[in-house]
C-alpha cells in the first residue's frame, strides 16, 4: 500500500521548500544512472572540495590536500546487485565507488548514495537508520547526498510511523536520523547558507515500487 497522491505531493513540496531536489525514478538502475550522471557533471567540485577555494589557515588547508582521489561515490549500505550496477555505471565515467573506509575520506567525497527507510509527508523528511558508522559518515561528509526513497515507504506523519520508529529505538544500539533538506545555517546575519557542515545538496529519488 503506497501513499495517497496528496501525501506524495506534500512530501515533495515540503522537501522542495527546504531546497531538496526531488525526482521520481522507475528502478534502482535509473536511480544509479541519475547519481552517476550527477557525479560526472560535478566537474568543478571534483577539483576542489567545497570551501577549499577559500583562504584557509595552514591547518585548515591540510585536509584539502589529503584529497588525492578522483571522484568518489560512497554507497555503504547498498545490496550486492545494486552495488555491482553502480560500480559498472561509475567505472565508465571514471568514478570510484566505495562502501567503507569513510574515515579516510573525512575531507569530503562527492556523493553519498543511500536508500532511506521511510519518508514523512508532513515535513518532507527522510528517516534513515544510520547505525552503521560508514553510512552515517557517507551522509555527512558527502557534498551531495542522493537518497532513494521507495514510494510505498512514504507516510503522512511521524505518528503513522510510530511503531517503526519505536522499533528502531528499541534496537541495541541504534542511531536514527531524520534528514530534511541539506545542512543549513543562518547564523551570520540570519542569511541562509547551505552546506555548513554536512551535504550542500540533498537529492531525493522517489522510487516506484508497487
Amino acid at each position: 500500500m503506497g501513499p495517497t497522491p496528496e501525501v506524495l505531493e506534500k512530501f515533495r513540496k515540503k522537501a522542495e521548500l527546504v531546497s531538496a531536489i526531488v525526482s521520481e525514478v522507475d528502478s534502482m538502475a535509473q536511480a544509479i544512472a541519475y547519481t552517476v550522471d550527477l557525479c560526472s557533471q560535478k566537474e568543478a567540485c571534483q577539483l576542489l572540495m567545497s570551501g577549499c577555494e577559500e583562504s584557509l589557515s595552514d591547518k585548515g588547508r591540510d585536509l584539502c590536500e589529503l584529497k588525492q582521489f578522483g571522484k568518489i561515490i560512497a554507497a555503504p549500505a547498498l545490496n550486492d546487485a545494486d552495488l555491482a550496477e553502480l560500480v559498472k555505471q561509475a567505472a565508465s565515467r571514471e568514478i570510484s565507488v566505495i562502501k567503507d573506509g569513510m574515515r579516510s575520506h573525512l575531507a569530503g567525497i562527492d556523493i553519498g548514495f543511500t536508500v532511506a527507510d521511510y519518508g514523512i509527508g508532513e515535513t518532507g523528511s527522510l528517516v534513515i537508520d544510520s547505525s552503521s558508522e560508514e553510512l552515517r559518515l557517507a551522509t555527512m561528509v558527502s557534498e551531495i547526498h542522493v537518497a532513494v526513497i521507495p514510494k510505498s515507504r512514504i507516510r503522512a506523519t511521524t505518528e503513522d510511523l510510530y511503531d517503526e520508529l519505536k522499533g528502531f529505538q528499541s534496537r541495541k544500539p541504534n542511531y536514527l536520523a531524520f534528514v530534511t533538506g541539506a545542512s543549513r545555517t543562518a547564523d551570520i546575519e540570519r542569511v541562509l547558507a547551505l552546506g555548513v557542515h554536512g551535504p550542500l545538496e540533498l537529492h531525493i529519488l522517489i522510487l516506484e515500487d508497487k
Binding site: K14, L17, V18, M49, G51, C52, E53, E54, S55, L56, S57, D58, K59, R61, L63, C64, R103, L106, T123, S125, S131, S132, E133, R136, L137, M140, V141, T158, E159, Y162, L165, K166, F168, Q169, R171, K172, P173, N174, Y175, L176, A177, F178, V179, T180, G181, A182, S183, R184, T185, A186, D187, I188, E189, R190, V191, A193, G195, V196, H197, G198
Partner: protein, 712 residues
C-alpha cells in the same frame, strides 16, 4: 551576559545597546520577519492545541522526573551508556573533566548546548588544558570572541558579516571576504579538521526518552551528527527537564519547537541515539558514551506549584523573538546566560538573585512572550512574581514600600493625587502637559510630554453627568482606574455619553481605587492583594457588567485578581466574570449599529493595547466599533506591539521605552491617519506625550472619545 550591579549601571549598558546601530537594525529585521515565518509554519495547524499538548506532556514529565530518570538510566545503561546525575553545574563539569581524563582526551568538539553554557563547562575544561571547540557556526563565532550567546537559537545574531570576516581573518591569518556564503565555507573547512582530530564530542540533548533510553538532538547544520560520530567518546549533557516518557511525547514537542523557533517545519537534522553505537576510532569499535543529567535547582523547582511550569521550556527562544525590550537591546542585556523572558526567570534559579535583580525589572509586561511560548508558560506573571520574591528577600526599597502603603489607603491616595494637582502648576504652564520636568527627571524622561492631573477628577463630576435612563437594557458599573479618574476624566465622560445614548444605566462606585497593577509591577504583591479585595468589595452591587476603558485594568481585574485572591474565591470569580472592556461591551453585548453615529469616514489608525489584544483577547471589536462609529480604519504595521509604556517600566527604563515608542509613532504615521485611536489611558499617556514631542501630526485619542464625537 548581563552582569551590571546596580539599576543605574544596567541602564547605562542598555543605553549602549540602544546606540548600537547594527544591533538595532538586525533586531528590527528579525522582529518583523519572525512572526511571518512562524505564522507560515503553523498555517496548517491548530497552534493552540499543539502548544497545549506540549504543556501537557511536559507537565506530566515534570511531575515524575525521578521516576523518568530511573527508567532512562536503566534502559540506557543496559544499552552501554553511562548515566550520571549532577546536582549542580560544578558537579556536572567535574564529571566531564573526569571522563576526559580517564579517556586521555585532548581535543573536544562541541555541538550547541545551552546546558553546557549554564554550567560554564568550557572554562572548566580549559583549566585542564583541554582544547574545546564549538562547532555550531554561531557558537564558534562567539567562542572565538569570548562572548556569551545573545540568542538561544541564533547565538551570534548581534554580529555583522564584517565582524565575522574580521574575526575569521585573525583566525586563519588570511584576508577573508565579507560574503556570507564564503565565510560559511571557511568555517566548514576550518572545523572539519577539528572533528577529525577530536577524541571527545560533547552535545546537549533536546529529548531524553525514558522508555528506550534514547536522546534526541535537533540541529540544522548537522554538526551534532559529526560531534556524536567521529570522536571516540561522546558526552551528552542535559537538564533533567529534558526527560520525557515516550517517543510520542518527544514527537509532540518536535512538531512545535522548530516552527516556533525559526518558522521551520522541522530542523534539517533530528538525531536519535539509543545506546553506545558503532565507533571505529574507539576500542572494541564501540563508542564510550555518557549522559549527564543536570539538576541545578530543577528538582526543587519541579515541586513549586507556580514555578514548576518553567521546566516546560523547550528552549525555542520565541519569548525573546517577540519581546519589545529584547528587540531594542538584544540578548546580552536580556539575560545572564539564558535569554529573553525565560532567561530573566532562569537566571534567578540557576545563577542567583544577584544576577537576576536588575533583569527581572526589565519586563514591560506586554504578554507577547506568554502568547508565543511553545509550552504555554505564563512568563510575565512569573517574572513579576520573582520580582516580588526578590524584594521580599532583600527588603523593599522605600519608594516602592511607600507607594504600597499609600495605595492601600484609597482616601489617602486620592488626597495625594488631588494635592499633586496643585503642586504641578508651576510645571504645566497652564497646558494639559507638564511642560517642565523637575531637573532630576529631565535628562532621560523628556522623550514624551507628561500629562497634567485634571482640574476635577471624574469621581467629582460623575453625579452631574450620570445619564437618566428609563428601562435600561443593562445596568453596568464603570471601573475607571486612577489614570482616567484623575488624568483623563474626559475619556470616561465620553463613554458615559455613548453608553447612555444606548440605553445603558451606569453607576460609578465611589470606593473603587487603583486596580493595583502598578503595585504588582513594582513587586509589591501584598499591597496589590489588599487593593484587589477593596475593589471587589467596592464593585459588589448588582451589576450586569463591570466596564473598563483601561485595557490594563481590565486584564488585571479579570486575570490577576483570581490569581492573587485564589482561583476558588467565589466572590472574585463572580467579579472577574463581569469585567469587560468598553469596545467588547459595545459590539459583543450591545451589538451597536451605525445608526447612531455620523459617518465622516475620517481616517484613523489603531494601537492595540497589549492587555486588550493579548490580555483580553479583544482584537476585532475595536476595529469593528470604529467602522460602525463612522471612521475609516487603516491598520498600522505592528499594531499589536507594545507602545513602550508598561506603567512604571517607562520610568525605570526610559531609554528603552523611548525607542519602542518611536517605532510605534513611525508605524502610525505611515498610515497617514489623522487620529491614532487606542483603548487604554496608559497607552494614551505614552503615545500622546510622544506624538506631542515628536510633532507626529496626528491626534491620540481614546476610542470612547472618537465615538462620542460622532454620536448623533
Amino acid at each position: 551576559m548581563q552582569t551590571a550591579k546596580t539599576l543605574s549601571d544596567y541602564n547605562k549598558e542598555l543605553r549602549e545597546a540602544l546606540d548600537n546601530t547594527f544591533l538595532r537594525g538586525a533586531m528590527e529585521k528579525f522582529a518583523t520577519a519572525y512572526p511571518v515565518g512562524r505564522a507560515n509554519a503553523f498555517r496548517e495547524y491548530d497552534v493552540k492545541a499543539l502548544i497545549d499538548e506540549v504543556a501537557k506532556v511536559k507537565d506530566a514529565g515534570i511531575s515524575r522526573l525521578n521516576e523518568l530518570y530511573a527508567e532512562f538510566k536503566a534502559k540506557a545503561e543496559a544499552n552501554g551508556i553511562k548515566v550520571h546525575w549532577a546536582k549542580d553545574g560544578d558537579e556536572a563539569n567535574e564529571i566531564v573533566a573526569r571522563i576526559a581524563k580517564e579517556n586521555a582526551c585532548k581535543k573536544i568538539v562541541k555541538s550547541k548546548s545551552m546546558t553546557a553554557e549554564e554550567t560554564l563547562l568550557n572554562h572548566r575544561l580549559e583549566k585542564d588544558n583541554l582544547e574545546v571547540i564549538e562547532t555550531d557556526l554561531g557558537e564558534w563565532i562567539i567562542q572565538l570572541r569570548s562572548e556569551g550567546p545573545s540568542h538561544m537559537v541564533m547565538p551570534a545574531i548581534h554580529l555583522s558579516r564584517y565582524q565575522v570576516a574580521e574575526l575569521f581573518s585573525q583566525v586563519t591569518k588570511q584576508d577573508q571576504s565579507t560574503d556570507i556564503q564564503r565565510l560559511v565555507k571557511v568555517a566548514r573547512r576550518e572545523l572539519r579538521r577539528q572533528y577529525a582530530e577530536a577524541d571527545m564530542g560533547i552535545s546537549g540533548a533536546n529529548f531524553a526518552i525514558a522508555e528506550t533510553g534514547t536522546i534526541g538532538l535537533m540541529t540544522n547544520e548537522g554538526n551534532a551528527r559529526l560531534v556524536t560520530t567521529l570522536p571516540r567518546v561522546h558526552v551528552a549533557i542535559a537538564g533533567i527537564d529534558k526527560l520525557c516518557g515516550s517517543l510520542n511525547d518527544a514527537l509532540k514537542i518536535l512538531r512545535v519547537v522548530p516552527k516556533n523557533a525559526t518558522g521551520q517545519a522541522i530542523t534539517s537534522y533530528v538525531t536519535w541515539i539509543s545506546g553506545a553505537n558503532e565507533c571505529q576510532s574507539a576500542p572494541g569499535n564501540k563508542k564510550e558514551m555518557h549522559i549527564i543529567f543536570l539538576d541545578n535547582g530543577r528538582s526543587e523547582m519541579a515541586k513549586d506549584p507556580l514555578f514548576a511550569q518553567v521546566l516546560r521550556c523547550v528552549r525555542c527562544g520565541a519569548c525573546a523573538n517577540v519581546c519589545p525590550v529584547y528587540r531594542m537591546v538584544g540578548g546580552h542585556q536580556m539575560g545572564h546566560i539564558y535569554i529573553g523572558a525565560i532567561g530573566l526567570i532562569l537566571t534567578y534559579f540557576f545563577h542567583g538573585r544577584e544576577k537576576a535583580r536588575n533583569l527581572v525589572q526589565n519586563c514591560i509586561n506586554c504578554e507577547a512572550c506568554k502568547h508565543i511560548c511553545a509550552a504555554g508558560i505564563d512568563l510575565p506573571r512569573l517574572i513579576k512574581e520573582l520580582h516580588s520574591r526578590i524584594l521580599d528577600e532583600e527588603g523593599h526599597p522605600l519608594p516602592s514600600l511607600l507607594l504600597g502603603k499609600l495605595m492601600k489607603n484609597r482616601k489617602l491616595f486620592h488626597t495625594f493625587l488631588r494635592t499633586a494637582k496643585m503642586a504641578q502648576r508651576p510645571l504645566t504652564g497652564g497646558t494639559q502637559y507638564i511642560r517642565h520636568l523637575p531637573h532630576i527627571f529631565s535628562k532621560d524622561h523628556g522623550f514624551k510630554a507628561l500629562p497634567a492631573i485634571a482640574a476635577k477628577p471624574f469621581r467629582d463630576r460623575f453625579e452631574s453627568l450620570k445619564p437618566r435612563v428609563s428601562a435600561p437594557k443593562y445596568r453596568v458599573a464603570l471601573f475607571s482606574g486612577c489614570v482616567q479618574d484623575f488624568v483623563y476624566p474626559e475619556q470616561l465622560e465620553a463613554a458615559v455619553k455613548v453608553l447612555g445614548a444606548h440605553g445603558v444605566e451606569i453607576d460609578f462606585p465611589m470606593d473603587q481605587s487603583c486596580c493595583g497593577l502598578p503595585l504588582q509591577m513594582m513587586g509589591e504583591k501584598k499591597a496589590s492583594i489588599d487593593v484587589a479585595r477593596q475593589n471587589i468589595d467596592a464593585m459588589a452591587g448588582s451589576y450586569d457588567y463591570i466596564i473598563t476603558l483601561c485595557a490594563s485594568c481590565a486584564s488585571h481585574l479579570k486575570h490577576n485578581y483570581p490569581f492573587l485572591l485564589g482561583e476558588n474565591d467565589a466572590q472574585t470569580k463572580a467579579f472577574a466574570a463581569k469585567v469587560i472592556p468598553f469596545s467588547a461591551f459595545m459590539t459583543d453585548v450591545l451589538g451597536v449599529t451605525d445608526e447612531k453615529f455620523t459617518q465622516t469616514h475620517q481616517r484613523v489608525t489603531m494601537h492595540a493595547p497589549c492587555h486588550l489584544c493579548r490580555g483580553m483577547g479583544v482584537v476585532e471589536q475595536p476595529r469593528k466599533l470604529l467602522a460602525l462609529g463612522g471612521y475609516e480604519y487603516a491598520q498600522a504595521e505592528q499594531e499589536q506591539v507594545c507602545c513602550g509604556f508598561g506603567g512604571t517600566f517607562s520610568a525605570k527604563f526610559p531609554g528603552v521605552s523611548e525607542q519602542i515608542l518611536k517605532n510605534k509613532l513611525a508605524d502610525a504615521a505611515r498610515t497617514a491617519a489623522e487620529v491614532l485611536v487606542t483603548e487604554c489611558p496608559g497607552c494614551i499617556m505614552q503615545l500622546r506625550g510622544g506624538a506631542e514631542v515628536n510633532k507626529s501630526g496626528f491626534a491620540v485619542r481614546h476610542i470612547a472619545e472618537v465615538l462620542a464625537d460622532h454620536l448623533k
